[in-house]
Symmetry: D2
């Protein structure tokens, strides 16, 4: 019994939650035992206005969550529950679905959306054109009627829409990094959008916690490879968002690579510069200051986007564990191209952190509540 008391004390103090629990946001997670789900747990434990009421996990029902993630020993006492989203919706204010593609589309109903906000970490509602979704994902979309309503939860771009949403489509990890790195230059027409090539590198947690041979330590360690070349599912998602920014259809090359590290995405992006009208009326390629000004126009006020100093390029380790996006760029007069580089932690800004950022927007909280995570180095 004494032990129970202790554990309780540990957990309470670990979360530093308010005593009047009535005022807190009740959150449920479906898919809490995947890496993105576990990161949601880590972040929400430190969030002063939210508490987790449901650790959903089809594979580990009734097992203690801390048995699945040993780091949570004495921090989470709950056992895993099933993925009954209808039951869940009645008990919580917000539902996070960190589930395989197609799950949420298969179960979502108007009733659920009337009961709780839904933040979906899968791709089910990210793409407006259902045929594009079905083509790239090779699955039938079971509830296309909600696609129109869903808001693409890239907060820096869609902040105001997110605030009003019931259903948020949380962006993919590669896409978050790829889009934000190029967005201001596409929007300001400083680059030719159809020359854009995104060469992205990701840590292995992006592949999930499934026990698959290619993700074994000995297969990944001391190794590097490209995969899904020209066919990766994040491609149409990047293209759709950049098309909105460009005001025209954008088609790009996107190549993901697997890197022997746990966390982090680095996107190296290439595009041809576009001549712009200069003060003297002539047309010329934008210079460093003009490009920098475009980045500043969109990101200076953004807490989570850090445009690095001239000549500094992002490193994934500099954002590890945090919700930051670090962006650097380099002009190349020889080729008339610009090289843009962006880095995020794929589990934070690329998944759970951005989901919490969206939750904060949905509930009128400061956008960085629970997300003032200082990057860990080394």
């Amino acid at each position: 019994m004494e032990e129970d008391v202790l554990i309780l004390r540990k957990c309470q103090s670990a979360f530093e939650k308010e005593s009047e629990e009535v005022s807190m946001i009740k959150a449920g997670i479906i898919g809490a035992t995947g890496y993105a789900g576990a990161e949601l747990v880590r972040i929400l434990l430190g969030h002063r206005e939210a508490e987790i009421k449901w650790y959903g996990s089809r594979s580990y029902i009734d097992e203690k969550y801390a048995k699945v993630y040993g780091n949570m020993f004495q921090l989470v006492e709950d056992a895993c529950l099933d993925d009954n989203i209808e039951a869940l919706a009645k008990q919580v204010d917000v539902i996070f679905t960190a589930t395989p593609q197609g799950f949420l589309a298969g179960v979502l109903t108007e009733e659920i959306l009337s009961s709780a906000k839904v933040i979906d970490l899968s791709a089910d509602y990210r793409i407006k054109d259902v045929r594009t979704y079905e083509k790239w994902y090779q699955i039938e979309h079971k509830s296309p009627q909600f696609i129109e309503e869903a808001v693409y939860g890239l907060c820096e771009v869609n902040r105001e829409k997110v605030k009003q949403a019931r259903l948020v489509a949380n962006p993919g990890c590669y896409t978050t990094c790829s889009i934000l790195t190029a967005y201001p230059l596409v929007k300001e027409r400083l680059i030719e959008p159809n020359t854009l090539i995104v060469d992205a590198k990701s840590g292995t947690s992006g592949a999930g916690r499934g026990a698959k041979l290619p993700n074994l330590f000995c297969e990944v360690n001391e190794n590097m490879k490209a995969y899904g070349v020209t066919t990766h599912r994040h491609t149409p998602e990047i293209e759709e968002q950049l098309s909105y920014a460009a005001g025209e259809t954008v088609t790009i090359n996107f190549t993901p690579h697997l890197v022997p590290m746990n966390r982090g995405i680095l996107a190296t992006e290439y595009a041809s510069l576009k001549k712009i009208r200069q003060e003297d009326g002539s047309y010329a390629y934008p210079n460093y200051e003009q490009v920098k000004a475009a980045y500043d126009k969109y990101y200076e006020e953004e807490y989570f986007v850090r445009v690095l100093d001239k000549g500094v390029y992002p490193e994934t380790k500099w954002v590890e564990g945090s919700n930051f996006v670090d962006i650097g760029f380099q002009m190349d007069a020889r080729t008339g191209r610009i090289v843009m580089m962006g880095a995020i932690d794929n589990l934070v800004k690329g998944a759970a952190g951005q989901a919490v950022q969206n939750m904060n927007l949905l509930f009128g909280l400061p956008e960085n509540e629970g997300l003032q995570l200082v990057p860990m180095f080394p």
Copy 2:
């Protein structure tokens, strides 16, 4: 100018500091650009009652701290200052010295100690017998007059003494892990202390940020080795503390190993069990429950020590980024020995985290203020 405003906003909100700064603990760090110093910065940025006023670094004077640690971009705007501890002592409430052996001993004065609390992360005041210090460290101790006063800052063991101290000798990384893993069994006389063998494994950040060939990526990666066999300087520190616990002189074997990972220490400890008087008056080796009871006696109320469930052994990843010590053990009836295992993050509980824990004790704050760090996995 607008940028200044923004940066300020970012930094303020990053720290969430109170507005009345007068009430906050002013902290200075000497050696802020080593890995332990940088971890102090990371932790103190999230501490609601302390603020850093001095980033001391002999090597980077006048350089912006965020240039030395890119992860701190827009989070720390200060430039590095020198290591003038006398000047520093007049401006702050507490000084952390994350400096090479001998530095603090060479500059510490009564005047400094009268002005500010000092928490020393080096070994200068850890060992009470100055000859032992000088023999193992091969340097002359320049201020032995402060050794007696210094309190060995292993909070779980010396909590009350720390609260009264002016000078805290923050324990070594290996020692923290090695001592806490065996302490209750030594104290309760369940093991023969002189049979203790500590086989410890450490991530590479323990070797510091000095540019030395053996610490290069290609030398450490895909490699493992022992070093300092029978001669490592943490040996006498472990022995001294365990001798206090045992009430007799303890001599042990301690072998450190370098592991290809950034953070984490795992100590695997072996000792022969000691027959104890059982309820029926006979003498027999303690059983699992009796050993568990000894651990619980000392650690059940400890926030930062997690004694794992039966059959569960600690993993360094489960404590990464946090101030936890995870402990597991296994009885071996075949050999009459017990195998104890302890894991910490060497930069947190093994250095900066424990230093902040000591600071909290010194200033009457909740011991886990700023240290409710949820371990990051993966």
Copy 3:
């Protein structure tokens, strides 16, 4: 067709095999697609007197071997065959079984042994006492009648017996390293064998290529843990062999650890020194030279054992890719113990390399034929 010609050329030249293939040793591998099996393939491709005739793999029947191991593209053109050992025995001179525990015991017959030599990389015939085997492995031994005949294939210890064998029990990876590191001192009675504690650390390839969650990159990387504490199956194997050396029953502690690297085992071994009769008739602990002399007595003529210089400790990287065992040691006068350290590549000397060494002995070849592998660094 041209392509076929090319491929053939590449393969032939890759192996540099003799033209009169009749004289070559024909080898079959059952379990060729596990890591140990793949390492057998790598080594045998460079062996001038052997050729692989059968790539057995239950999981990949009819698939091209080079599809399973991309590194073998254009080097191995064969497809995988099944594990029909009876059929195989008729076609080859030697069979390597790199199979799960119990497989060989379940299928071995006198007929097979009459047709081909068998080198078993599993544990089925390593332990002479079948009850010990069944207790530690928790499986029934299906052909105990062959245990007596089987020779424990630790070449440095059992060389002459191996030469005469039909069935060789190739030692385990941990055991090879653990035994060879302590063997001369046990044999020469310089240490108390029952004080021996083996703390071993292994790269992850030792866990095999099975798709299991604990072996995923993100679970292993940046992590370290002990496992199988007091219960690991290599324990009785080490004990049996050291008992032969000691002339008495030896009971030890053996603790394996998982290290975030692909290859390599480091065994750190502790034992109390034994007083020996000195030249003047007194009894005293052996000194460095006496211990060194014991190592030299057994290993000076051994090609694959490298006893390092005084004060040098082995590193796993120094033997990577090779069949070497590197051994170092350090006396500790303070505790009366010695710390011995041994390092091997678990897939070479700990599995495939030693198997080929055994094959060389069986067929009267130079023991290091095909095994003159220079360790790769970095």
Copy 4:
């Protein structure tokens, strides 16, 4: 003395050298203690027609080589010598210089070239236009008179010229991989050469063994970054060679990245396809078969180039420790581009292996002598 005998035996058998040493190629290495130099040692130890006579290392003069590289214990008994290339030239048949940029240019003389073949692993003679060299390397070229004579030692392209050379400029690691991956398509005019973008990723051994902070384990591990963006010195080298192939001046983007692994380069290359005349007289983009035919035209007979099967992309681990170049590609009809991928081991085909390949050409040996290295996996 007995020990000497043993060591000799070990070394001799390790190398399996012919007894009549007179017929062997005598090789000297200047810069033998860098990573590329050490890899030369590893490879030459297994070469049946060459022996190393001079281990030059300015930093370790008179130290035993095996003290600098523990993996060479008992395999190399020599001590390091200085970098007196004039003295060396009189004693050997071939000199490898694995030295910093500018070293060889500063000491090379006609006399040296008359005495011994020189294979330079630095960049001193790779670039024909001395001004380009001086601009990108920021050093004055001290012996431009030898540039014209030097042969760029990319064997697959310049084989016949290499055979006649006295001075071979061994290509850079990035360049070898980048050029060979695109060469057939540039040569056959299937791509627009000026649209070529090379995004390259390298293991850390490419940064050398210098003790520099950015190469520390904790800085590289769990991290990824680009560096030298638009300014890396391998850019003009790639451009020059591709310009020869294209028959016009080629300007490209090249971006190197640092990856947390020891060995391996992966180059991901993007280019716009060029419409070619089809059989019916129309112009259209080449299809898969036409691109494949171009690769086969140049590489089908090449021992060291492996063009992978359709849909298979190279992984650096598949070539580790070997001299292979693995190439895969993917057409993208959506963008009209092709994505080419090439992988090498930067220390083998990217440095020492290619140097030995050049040596074999220079001395009329089979091109793969000593280079039939089977890639090591895992």
